[in-house]
Symmetry: C2
Subunit: 156 residues, 2 copies
């Protein structure tokens, strides 16, 4: 394989292109799910109960809190998630999966994995794992738990 030149040698171009392709593939898979691919991410996050509030959930997903409201409205109306007040802080709402939401999530996970493998077809299985691992390491530093600390420090 020759070394690419011009835009096609750019990290930004590669990131944008792969992300767009992944988004298109995900959109096909999630079909009529409220909120599309992001709705799926909300379900996945709610399943593990990682985020204790809508705000934290939004930060994790890179979504504004006002958008989270609409997103959760749709998912709640579809009977996939429930908003329960946090006993410790009654301003905050904990997002939990309903049984229906749990089932939907499980069904989607497998199709999504298949779509991702299709997207990563140019790579062998070892390389796919490596790409996932590398991206994850960058992401967790940049936008994952670390960002909460960074923001907390910046606010103090």
């Amino acid at each position: 394989m020759t070394t690419p030149s011009g835009v096609e040698a750019e990290l930004g171009w590669a990131l944008g292109t792969v992300t767009r392709a992944h988004l298109r593939a995900a959109q096909d898979v999630v079909g009529g799910l409220p909120g599309g691919p992001r709705g799926y991410q909300v379900l996945a996050a709610a399943a593990t109960g990682e985020a204790g509030s809508q705000l934290a959930l939004g930060r994790q997903l890179g979504v504004d809190r006002t958008v989270m409201t609409y997103l959760l409205d749709e998912l709640e109306q579809a009977g996939l998630v429930a908003r329960t007040p946090d006993p410790a802080d009654r301003r905050a709402r904990r997002i939990t999966l309903t049984e229906s939401g749990q089932a939907r999530l499980c069904a989607l996970e497998r199709s999504l994995r298949a779509a991702e493998d299709d997207l990563l077809a140019p790579l062998d299985s070892g390389e796919r794992a490596e790409l996932r691992a590398l991206l994850l390491r960058v992401a967790t530093r940049v936008g994952g738990p670390a960002i909460t600390c960074t923001e907390a420090e910046a606010l103090s």
Copy 2:
């Protein structure tokens, strides 16, 4: 490092998070450049003369042709690019860099590389190269030259 769970184990989450972070960093770097990060990508593509038309350029960058018009209007008005009619097909316009555009591009490239290295700080230099290479391989299959063929076939 422990294996992440939930959304943070998802390829889609990692891609989105890293792409957003890269976009933020790029936006800081390109500053007042017309079109922001995408304006830079147009300059980078024009520098090598890869794309023979606005339409091809848009496809390469994942941008609608109507958006390309506005984008190029701004860049042309800023004296960074020029639209010259293609002698072979007078409907198409070839996008070329002006001297000013060339200088601007060179100046931006270094700052952008620095910002990207900062983004990829969690990885050592070997891993950064590997991540770039893996992403590039997926992107060139999915959205690069291959997409032109795919779309051409789909249209026939």
